[in-house]
Structure formats: C-alpha cells, structure tokens
C-alpha cells in the first residue's frame, strides 16, 4: 500500500485541505493504513500537548503593568524637564557669548578707529615733510602771477 505524504497528513490535521474529495480520500486511507494512522495520531497528541501548554501567571500582571506605566510617565516627565533645562542653559550660554562678542567687538572698533585716525594724520604729516614732497614743492612756482 502506498503511504500518504507526512506533510499532507499535517495539513489534514490543520483542516487546511480545501478539496472535499481529497479530504474524504485521506480519511478513508487513514482508516485502512496503520502506519499513516500512527503518524496522524502522533500529530494529534503533539497538538494537544502544545494546546495545553500554559505559563502560570504567579502575579497580578495588570497591577504590575499599571506601576510600570506610572514609572514610564514619570521618566518621560523628568526627561522632558531635563531636556527643557538643558535647552534653556544652552540658549543662555549662546546669549551670553553673543553679547560678549558684541561688547568686545565694539571696543575693538573704537580702538581701530582711534588708531587709524592718529596714524593716518601722522603719516600724511610725515609724508608731507619727506624728501619726495620737498622736491615736488620745490618745483612749484609760488610767485603770484
């Protein structure tokens, strides 16, 4: 006698064979073939074994869940507070450094202005007294015409 494929028996156990004729043929074969019947029975046994597998809950899971939820929201709030204060601190540092830069920058500008004013006057005066200028001046006819 030809035996059924074990994968087909597995599908049959799960009621996943849609075709009624095939279902009937398998059922008939299982009634007649001892070997295939043994495979079928062992599959059913295994299924019952897994169906009855349960993890006993020893604690009040929902109560523990509620506690965790509360802790989670507390952590969320403290994380929010921390990020908020961190952002405030950062913006304070930024403002402080910005105003410092502005202040020192203005001071420097004044310094540069003073320096350039003095130096330019000095330089133009010394240029005026230099030899080159004297030569040019000497060529000018100062007499009134």
């Amino acid at each position: 006698m030809k035996h059924l494929k074990k994968s087909l028996i597995s599908k049959y156990v799960d009621n996943m064979i849609k075709d009624q004729k095939t279902n009937d043929a398998i059922k008939k074969h299982l009634d007649e073939c001892v070997e295939c019947r043994q495979v079928y029975d062992s599959y059913i046994k295994i299924d019952n074994f897994v169906k009855n597998f349960n993890v006993d809950i020893k604690d009040d899971l929902y109560l523990e869940f509620l506690n965790r939820k509360i802790n989670h929201s507390k952590t969320k709030i403290s994380t929010f507070r921390f990020s908020l204060s961190f952002a405030l601190l950062l913006s304070l540092i930024f403002l402080l450094s910005f105003s410092l830069t502005l202040f020192t920058g203005r001071k420097n500008i004044l310094k540069v202005e003073n320096y350039t004013q003095n130096n330019v006057i000095d330089k133009s005066f010394s240029n005026f007294l230099s030899d080159g200028y004297s030569d040019i001046i000497s060529t000018v006819d100062w007499t009134e015409k």
Binding site: M16, D47, V55
Partner: protein, 182 residues
C-alpha cells in the same frame, strides 16, 4: 473570529475615547497568550513577564496609530514577536558576559524545576529543541488557533512557508519524543 475582531475594535474605540477599563479588558484577554508566546522564546518566567509588560506598554502608547488593517491580535502578536526577537538578540550579546558559575546555577535551577513537574519540563525541553520559526508558527497555530494566512501575516512569510514550518515542527517533536520516551 469576525466577532472577536469587532469586539476588540470596540474596546479600542472605547479606550481611545478615554475609557481605561477597556484597555484592562484587552490586557486580561491577551496577557496570558502573549506571556506564553514570549516564554517560548525566553524560557524564563521573569524575563517573559518583563517583556510582556513592555509589549503592553507599547500597545498602550501606540493604540491610536493602529490602523485596523489587520485584526488586533495579529498586530499584537507581531509586536510580541519583534520584542521577543530583540530580547534574544540582546541576550546573545550579553551571553558572553555570563560566567561559568552562573551557567551552572541556571542549569541546577532548571533541573530542580524538571523534577517538580515532569510534563512542564518535557514541554519546555521540546520547545527548546525547536528552531525559533517552527516554534512560533506551531504555537500560533495550535495555542492561538490562527490560520496559516494570519500566521504568515504575523511572521511576514507565505502561507506555504507556514505550512512547511508547522509540518517540520511536528516532525521534530515526534522525533524528539521518540528519542526521549523510546
């Protein structure tokens, strides 16, 4: 199944409208199933409990994003699988940090549990012997009574692949029992 779905959808709707008790009903309906599924990954009650609570916290915070394209159970089991897998990954990384003494301790604890409850021990042994995919497909099919299609959706694989995983799981368990019980 359809009735179950609409019941869940109603509870979700009520929860989103501010009724916290609806979430409690959902929790009580599914926590045992989720815990069993997670336990098959962790093989440790405390870890399973911890992950189960994390899963429900995730569900609690993201129920408003649930689009109702699938049933609630499919969505929940998908989160369960993802969380369990990420736990296993984390454990694998930490595994190298466990000392030999600690491993011996764990083994002694397991042995004492086996002596107290043989069937439970045998069941755990069988679950341990199965590859992850086979184990999950089989548990979802038998314990949760889900169809191949639903399992495929949860595990992101085809119906044909589910069929093959369940068949291989059955065969592995059969061979395991043959070797154990003679």
């Amino acid at each position: 199944m359809e009735k179950n779905n609409s019941e869940d959808f109603n509870l979700i709707e009520q929860f989103l409208n501010g009724d916290e008790n609806s979430f409690k009903t959902l929790f009580e309906k599914y926590s045992q199933r989720v815990l069993s599924l997670v336990y098959s990954y962790t093989k440790n009650y405390d870890d399973a409990k911890d992950i189960t609570q994390e899963i429900f916290l995730k569900v609690y915070n993201s129920l408003e994003n649930f689009k109702k394209r699938s049933s609630f159970s499919t969505w929940l089991y998908r989160i369960t699988l993802n969380e369990s897998i990420s736990f296993l990954r984390k454990m694998k990384k930490e595994k190298n940090l466990v000392s030999i003494d600690e491993v011996n301790e764990i083994e002694i604890q397991n042995n004492s549990n086996d002596q107290n409850n043989y069937d439970r021990g045998l069941m755990e042994k069988i679950l341990l012997s199965l590859p992850e995919n086979q184990k999950i497909a089989f548990i979802l099919a038998k314990k949760e009574q889900l169809s191949y299609r639903e399992i495929g959706k949860i595990m992101n694989i085809s119906e044909k692949a589910v069929e093959s995983l369940i068949y291989r799981a059955r065969e592995n368990i059969r061979n395991f029992l043959k070797n154990e019980l003679g």
